[in-house]
Structure formats: structure tokens, C-alpha cells
Amino acid sequence: MNVQDRRRLLGPAAAKPMAFSNTTIHTLENKSTSALPKNSECEQELSLHTGFIENCNGSALVESRDAKHQTSLITAVYGPRSIRGSFTSQGTISIQLKNGLLEKYNTNELKEVSSFLMGIFNSVVNLSRYPKSGIDIFVYLTYDKELQNKCLDDESQSKQIFSQISSLIPHCITSITLALVDAGIELVDMAAAGEVCGTVVSFIKNGEEIVGFWKDNGDNEDLSGCLDRCKEQYIRHRDLMISCLMKQKNLNI
């Protein structure tokens, strides 16, 4: 199925990617679990930066680290720029998610997330202010590392990945919002999101409105509890974004 791209140097076709055994890791497992309780109670640390990429209109870097994993993603916003073709009365948003160094997500899963994010930002960006223009957003998942070293059999490994992409979505939303603000694009409100066990809820207007809902794991039990916990995270993320932007602004003056 995969036709080799002749324009790139992809190496010999017969070469196989390295397959790492999982039989030799057992000794490590005990070591990492013993170190776990120490940092499991600590909160997720977030670090935000904006405006460090030169050749785009707005950019943001979000790095997060908690007991389970470490994530870093870079967002670049290009636009509003003119689009070819006929007149459109409002702007169009496109979002591309790109696998970074660790190519762990399928492209179709990334596209599903990007179309979900497009749904969110269609309701967050004040698109009627940008007729006949396109806003292109590129999210680059630099790395996304498991800090717990576990030996997993195949089945739970695939499950792990499913829950991971949903844990990334709040950070994607934070970084896109920041990058849009950095590019000076008008927003209805600062969007942010929270994630609880594979459920992502994105809010605006102080949690009064939901702009995105994504659930990957489990059944529909305890919806309101989930919403409340996501809202807490939303408020935390939003406050962090605002303080980051204010700090940035004070630096520039």
C-alpha cells in the first residue's frame, strides 16, 4: 500500500524498523514503580511560551510534565492570509497535526483530532472578521514521552495509546489558543480544556459553554462529575494562559 516517496531519501526498501524485545525489560519495571509514589501526587506542571517562531504570524510552545508523561508541542499560526478562488464571507480555519520525533500516532487518528479541533476553533475564532482569508494552524507534537516505564503486552499497549491522544488534546487547545492570540486573531473567548480518563471537555465563557466534547474510554457514567473536573482544569489552564500573555505583554513594553 505504502508507495515509496521518490522525492525523499527514505533508504533501502528492504530495511525493517527496529523491533525492541519486551522480554528483557522485566528487571526495570520494579525499579520504576518503586520511584513512582514520590512524584505521583505532584500536580501537572505546565510551561507556556509565545512568539518564538520567526516565519509565521503567531506561535506558542506548551510543555507539560506530570507523573505519567511529558509532552511538548509547538503551534504555528499562519494567517490570516488570502485564499485563492471565489469570495467567502468568512475566514476558514485549517488545523494540521504533525507527528514529531516519536512517530507514535496513526495519521488517521491525528486527522480525527485535527478535525475535532477545527470544530472547536470554528466556534471560538471570530471568523466573520476575516472574509476571504484562511488561517492555517500547524501543531507539531515535538515529543510525548511516557515517564513510567512499563512492560505492556500488546493489547494494553494499544489501549494506552488511545488514552494518550486524548490527554494531548487539552494541550493542543491551549497552544492553539495562545498562538492565535499571538498572531493577533480575534477570538470570542480564550478556549481551554480539561481531561479526565480519556474524556476531554473544552469550555469557553467561564465554563458556561462547551465547545468540544471528546470521549474515548469508558461508558457514560458520572457525566456531571467529569464535567466539573474538566471545568476545574479549564479554569486553571485559562488563568495560566492569561498570566503568560500578560507577562509577555509587560516584557514587550
Partner: protein, 393 residues
């Protein structure tokens, strides 16, 4: 002032632009104005390089030697920041079976002697390269750009011809995994054993494998030409590559085809699967003396007409001889203005010891004088020396 056949005269007012607007509408003029003051639009001096900040091996699976990141398949990495540009290089690997068994490969003992004999014929065949994929982020989707393709190809060729990566270093010294009586696995590597206790017949494998290295180079925030940055980043990354040890199952070490009577060929192949060790690794043995660093230069003629003139002696300056153009050497091209208006370029790849690996001269417009080549060569050496010390920090 204006010549007009019409009755009315038209008055032309000079328009003033702020510097940043002028830089957008006429990068050439803006550059010349800056150069006449002895600086460049990025406020560097003619021969001043951008500072380089590197972060080595922070992304690879072997970051923490105690605790190998099981799901990470990066073998070596580098993040390089130069000016505003960020280059992220990650090296991953694959394994290829050498099926075209030449005489050299079949007999391991005489390999070195044979190498000696055939050395004159084909030295390059003893070296390998990495397969680089360069991605320059510029807010577009779709096919790769010409720039990405040429940089990838140039990196591939330059590594091969710089003789940095000997094929010997990529050979897999495969171990053998055997199942003990209590159901646990042990892996034996031929070179780890004391005086070759097991080095007899049962560890001799007819099949050979070698590693293939891929480099993914992502350039964020591109502000000027990026080949140098990619090359330097790749050099740093290559130096911290660690190759995982690989092994095959005991059953596969001998090639008797009578393992299964009812099995099809597909099931037999499966047992030869070569698997990499989760924790054990060996550093990649590259030719360290051939590690070279790249730098680039541009040559531009100073246009006397766009000099910022001192109003006091404006009269004198007009008489400058237009044929006698003075050109200057500019180091480490950056910014759009320099990239679009400087077409004459010199690029050099050299080792810190002054072992020159590559020199490219592109003459377009401005004349490249022998002095300039000399100057750029000596600057490159200094630069390479400086860059090579960063790794040991």
C-alpha cells in the same frame, strides 16, 4: 523637476519609509544601506557568525542510562538553535539483511586483509551514509519543497564523501537468545564472551545484518539558508548515536530447513526475525577525525549609489568610479534581505583540524577573489574548531 509635455507641472515629493517598511519593499536597498554603515540588517558585523546553542541527546531512548525509555526509538538526537532558527534532528534506525553476500562478507576472518587489497578500487564503497529527511516548516502542506529535497540529497552525499560513517560500524554483531530450562531468556553476544567459549560452531551465523540510519531534521522558524544548520546539527546528533544490540532466536542460528515439516516458508522466515535488545547498546563508531562543520559566506558588491551619504561631503562621493566596485565577504548568511540579494556564495565544510571536506563556490554577479576564498577557508576552520568544543561541554 519633472519633465512633462502637459501644461501642468507635476511635482514629485520624495517619500520616506521607516527602515522596517523599506526592508520589506526593497530588501536590496535596505541591505546596501546597512552595509554602508559597516553592519548587516541583523546587526551583525560582516564576518560575525550567529551564536549556536545546542542540546545534545535529550530526546533519545538512552537519555537516562539507568532507565531506558522503552517506547522511544530515537538513537541519537540534537536540538540546535542559531539565531531564531531551531533545528531538531533525531536519528532512528532500521536493520537490513545483507543478502548480496559478497566474498568479503562470507568469510569474516580474511575481511581485513581483503579490505587492504581492494582499498584502491573502491574506498567509498566502505562508507555509508544516513538517510536524511529534512522538513522546513513554513506553513504549507503537500509535497516536499525543492529546498528540502536538495538539502536532503546534499547531506546524504556530503556524509558519504566525508567518510564519516564506515560500513563496518553499522554491522550488526548479533547475539543469540536461548530459552533456559526455567523458561527465562538469556541473550549471548559473541564479543561479550570470555575467550570465545561459545564461539564454536553454534554461534556462527551465515546471515548478516547491518543497521540503517535515518535522520529526521525539522527546521522551525527558518530565517535564512539552513543547510549549514542541518549539517551541524546532524554532526552533533551522529556523535551521540547508540546502536541497540540485536539478537536472533536460538532456533534461527543454524539454517537447517528441517525445523518444520508442515510449515510454509512464511512461518520459517518469522523465526529469523532479528530483535533489538531493550537495554543494551553500543556507541556508533564513527570516524571522529572526519567530523566536520559547515559554514557559509556570501559575497556582495557595495553599491556606491545606495550609500548613506554624509550631507557635508555629498559632492565628492558622486565622482566615485562606477567600474571599481568594492565587494565584501559576509559570513553566515541570515535574514530574507541577505538571502534574496546575495547570490554569490561560498560554502565550506571542514574539520577543526583544517581537513577540508567540501567547498562550493557559486559565482553569480559579484566576483570571488582568491583572497576571499582564503579568508573564508580560515574563518571556517576557526568556526569548526569553536563548534567542535560545544559537544564536550
Amino acid at each position: 523637476m519633472a519633465e512633462s509635455t502637459a501644461l501642468e507641472t507635476i511635482e514629485i515629493h520624495p517619500i520616506n519609509f521607516p527602515p522596517d517598511v523599506l526592508a520589506r519593499i526593497s530588501p536590496e536597498l535596505s541591505l546596501q544601506r546597512h552595509l554602508s554603515l559597516g553592519i548587516r540588517p541583523c546587526l551583525r558585523k560582516y564576518e560575525e557568525f550567529r551564536d549556536v546553542i545546542i542540546e545534545n541527546n535529550t530526546l533519545s531512548r538512552y537519555v537516562d542510562t539507568e532507565n531506558v525509555d522503552a517506547k522511544n526509538n530515537i538513537l541519537g538526537s540534537n536540538v540546535l538553535k542559531s539565531g531564531k532558527t531551531i533545528v531538531i534532528t533525531s536519528i532512528t534506525g532500521g536493520i537490513i539483511e545483507e543478502n548480496s553476500a559478497s566474498i568479503k562478507d562470507l568469510d569474516d576472518f580474511g575481511e581485513d586483509e581483503l579490505l587492504e587489497v581492494t582499498k584502491e578500487d573502491d574506498i567509498l564503497a566502505e562508507y555509508a551514509s544516513v538517510y536524511p529527511v529534512v522538513e522546513v516548516e513554513r506553513g504549507r502542506v503537500g509535497a516536499c519543497t525543492d529546498e528540502e529535497m536538495t538539502i536532503s540529497q546534499k547531506l546524504y552525499d556530503s556524509i558519504l564523501h566525508s567518510r564519516i560513517l564506515p560500513k563496518k560500524a553499522l554491522k550488526v554483531k548479533a547475539g543469540i537468545r536461548s530459552v533456559n530450562e526455567d523458561g527465562t531468556f538469556t541473550v549471548l553476544y559473541p564479543d561479550e564472551l570470555e575467550n570465545g567459549a561459545l564461539n564454536g560452531t553454534n554461534l556462527k551465523m551465515k546471515r548478516k545484518w547491518s543497521y540503517v540510519l535515518y535522520a529526521k531534521i525539522v527546521v522551525l522558524s527558518r530565517t535564512g539558508p539552513v543547510f549549514d544548520l542541518c549539517w551541524n546539527s546532524l554532526m552533533y546528533a551522529l556523535q551521540n548515536v547508540k546502536l541497540p544490540r540485536a539478537f536472533i532466536d536460538e532456533r534461527a542460528s543454524d539454517l537447517r530447513m528441517t525445523i518444520r515439516t508442515r510449515g510454509r516458508s512464511a512461518t520459517i522466515r518469522e523465526t529469523y526475525e532479528i530483535i533489538c535488545d531493550q537495554t543494551k547498546s553500543l556507541p556508533l563508531m564513527i570516524n571522529l577525525q572526519n567530523i566536520a562543520f559547515a559554514s557559509n559566506y556570501g559575497v556582495i558588491e557595495l553599491d556606491p549609489e545606495s550609500q548613506l551619504q554624509d550631507p557635508n561631503n555629498a559632492e565628492e562621493e558622486v565622482d566615485i568610479d562606477m567600474d571599481d566596485l568594492k565587494s565584501v565577504l559576509i559570513a553566515d548568511l541570515d535574514t530574507e534581505a541577505e538571502e534574496t540579494s546575495i547570490h554569490t556564495t561560498i560554502s565550506v565544510i571542514t574539520t577543526p583540524a583544517g581537513n577540508y571536506k567540501q567547498l562550493t563556490l557559486v559565482g553569480a554577479g559579484a566576483k570571488i577573489t582568491p583572497e576571499m576564498i582564503k579568508r573564508s577557508l580560515s574563518l571556517s576552520k576557526v568556526r569548526a574548531d569553536d563548534l567542535s568544543t560545544r559537544l564536550n561541554k
